[in-house]
Symmetry: C2
Subunit: 151 residues, 2 copies
DNA sequence: GTAATTGCTAAACCTCACTTTAGGTCAAGG
DNA sequence: CCTTGACCTAAAGTGAGGTTTAGCAATTAC
């Protein structure tokens, strides 16, 4: 129990509320990179708490793990990220979030227009058009909420 | 090609942009209930175009199929839904949507507060709290975007 | 020192929302 | 009549995001 040996996976799980299995899964997906102690057990930095926190928040916002990884990959490799580093990625994150809120609000406003007519008609309803366009992309995974597939 | 024999699944697919397989899947999930012609092929009402349209729109908003089914189940059983019926479910739908936008906006505002400090700290960050609460629900499926699991 | 925890890996399993495949049937046009 | 295209079912496959299981090793608590 020396002070500088890092956190165990169980400790991380307790502090984040994540399941141990989820943390291991994030490692497998390249979102977090613990080292190993002499016995082969994972040890984590305190900075990893922040990474996990970011992952959980971004998931609440509806981002996929590859998208989140892309954001986290912008953090510096060789050193512990500074506040400035986190501020930078929070900002890029906020832009994506703003776009999502805008889309949702626009769709809601279209829905308001439709409540009066009760139509949802394929020919006339303002709500139908964005849906139609998604359909025209052809078969394959249909993306949600106006987002493009993960980069 | 008599006038009143209903639409084939292919016709529905063309008019909605959905895949035929998706429509059959929705039937299996109880979201739509075609009848069969003498040869065993599915035949659909024109009103089913509206149901499918609603499904597609609701999915854009991030609702799951069970949630959408719950809304559609409120439509009358014995007759073709009227505009009033659709208006009623659009309104209940809008309320759910409003809640979603509110949550997202609140989270975004919290993020704004965090950009200044760059923290995302588990102890202090305003963003952490909602995440933490989700974690406290214990193991099992973690719900997204502040929604409760489908009824 | 030993028992209970906690951690390890690999592989199987799960839900959601579908698509694809395989093998066969139905309907419409020439 | 016969071919072509649309349709049928059941079952398996997909990919995201994990959890569960099995069997074993390391750590911690007493």
């Amino acid at each position: 129990m020396a002070v500088n040996e890092g956190l165990s996976i169980g400790a991380l799980a307790k502090r984040t509320g994540l399941a141990v299995s989820a943390i291991r899964y994030y490692e497998a997906q390249g979102l977090i990179a613990p080292w190993r102690n002499a016995g082969g057990q994972r040890r984590f930095d305190r900075a990893d708490l922040r990474r996990l926190s970011f992952i959980m928040i971004a998931q609440q916002f509806g981002f996929t793990l590859p998208q989140i990884k892309a954001e986290l990959d912008q953090l510096p490799g060789g050193r512990t990220p500074t506040k400035t580093d986190w501020t930078r990625i929070s900002q890029s994150f906020r832009a994506a979030l703003d776009a999502r809120i805008t889309t949702l609000t626009k769709l809601r406003d279209n829905l308001d227009g439709c409540i009066g007519c009760g139509c949802l008609s394929l020919e006339a309803c303002a709500l139908y058009n964005p849906v139609d366009r998604a359909g025209e992309k052809g078969p394959g995974p249909r993306y949600l909420m106006g987002d493009e597939p993960a980069a």
